[in-house]
Symmetry: C2
Subunit: 330 residues, 2 copies
Amino acid sequence: MRMLINVPETVVDDGLRGFAAAHPELTVDVENRIVLRRDAPVAGQVALVSGGGSGHEPLHAGFVGPGMLAGACAGAIFTSPVPDQMVRAAAAVDSGAGVLFVVKNYTGDVLNFDMAAELTEDEGIQVAKVLVDDDVAVTDSLYTAGRRGTGATLFVEKIAGAAAEAGAPLERVESIARRVNARSRSFGVALSACTTPAKGSPTFELPNGELELGIGIHGEPGRERRPMMTSGEIADFAVDAVLQDLRPKGPVLALVNGMGATPLLELYGFNAEVQRVLGERGVPVARTLVGNYVTSLDMAGCSVTLCEADEDLLRLWDAPVSTPALRWGR
Amino acid sequence: MRMLINVPETVVDDGLRGFAAAHPELTVDVENRIVLRRDAPVAGQVALVSGGGSGHEPLHAGFVGPGMLAGACAGAIFTSPVPDQMVRAAAAVDSGAGVLFVVKNYTGDVLNFDMAAELTEDEGIQVAKVLVDDDVAVTDSLYTAGRRGTGATLFVEKIAGAAAEAGAPLERVESIARRVNARSRSFGVALSACTTPAKGSPTFELPNGELELGIGIHGEPGRERRPMMTSGEIADFAVDAVLQDLRPKGPVLALVNGMGATPLLELYGFNAEVQRVLGERGVPVARTLVGNYVTSLDMAGCSVTLCEADEDLLRLWDAPVSTPALRWGR
């Protein structure tokens, strides 16, 4: 166990306290595990609220701020937040223009956001939901019916967040979010298992010298296990898995994502291979983002997410955003 | 070996190619391993050039852009770049206002930047140098005479970079850089060793359940090895080591830095403990930055860097910056 923690029981709250200290520009309610835009509710703006189990940082709290999420709820490690958190966050950020819940497709999250939507509507707040289910590795999984939600969550939150920031009404923000999800696909690879603080040992056995193709962000099993492959071979496999399902007819937005413990140098090297494969397959790349954004604690590995993005979506992608983990200007 | 690479020989060039693809806003000369501001030379501006061994990403290439570095040179893994790279970078970015070399205190880097400074001056370019030596863990080390240069490099590059961006002359940019270094101290801790691609196995033995206090960013030995400590105990030790040497009389700028493989959730939790210790010691914190900025490949661990920052330095810290790894606006 090589964890930088006090005791497993306080990991999430300790993290939120440290996050609050580093980000005075956000409102952090440690007790309720909610992070909010300080200026929320913003008059006339639809508010995006997301959330999920902890252990995927910077997702979601790191994406709260102008141009992206209005609020995020943190659950225990790899465990959905509860409806009460979502209702609270929605009530705090709703300006009257309504709230969009961005939900990764895991059974617990889906159930809790469904219940939260009902309770929030009972309070007279307009609610829409978008389910993110971009992972092509497997249909049905340890915690999911249907495809899992992974890297596309970042695309949905950024692009729909930009539409909300620009003043689009709830229906339009929701339809953009659905469009982004429908046009996005992901595939992930683990080079090592992750270790949850409570367990203190790897969540699954991955012998040194092997990798797991199609891994989920909680270490759920993927498609197959193989002897170690080169970065180029992994890129071939992952990009082809995504393209077989996505079949883009135009340029794509690419996220080359680290699972948490893969060095940035290696991740950039992997990006070179991803770009090579996309070039060979005749897929133009409009934008590329490389970094650790949708992680799985201390897992080594990576994922590729592609989104077929028209001019409209690219303009929203390029729009200013100001959050702890994603920030760019005019 | 759990590395996401092709072969050890191409890791640095693969990384630079992938970096170039992700950052079309920068000029990347993969052959010469140089990254430059696309708009360099910027008329009237002093240009900061840094560089060092690869394996510490995002340092240094990730800090190239308006408000920070004008150029960065990448060496092989944990190996200084050569003078020719530095001379080339300096010649490419000099506007006539001169160049400041930012040099981490390792024997190879110092020698090569010294030689590069002479060669660059021979070309009629004004050159100044600042040596970064903030690590209080040890004096003299495997690769260093005197203290090692670590986290304060980010402070020097950001703050002196802001002064250069604002049009300060070389003498003033240099004196600000020296002031930042003189007022900064760091201390690092390893929870695991790092693995260089060429070696393929950990660079040193750190048994599970032990940690190394005072680690260097290449895995150089620190002060002592101990059985695993809590995040709070590590914060006490690291912050006290820094404060004993720094003795700040005013507010500090804090960098809570990950070594590469420590999850962001844990790093934020560690920040909560760092803030607690600083509070207990009566040291006010003006700004905090948390993330993986000065890394050591796949090492798990963290470091704390504090800089005693007056209003002048804080204003420069807050000034806009637009680089891959550090970006904020007005």
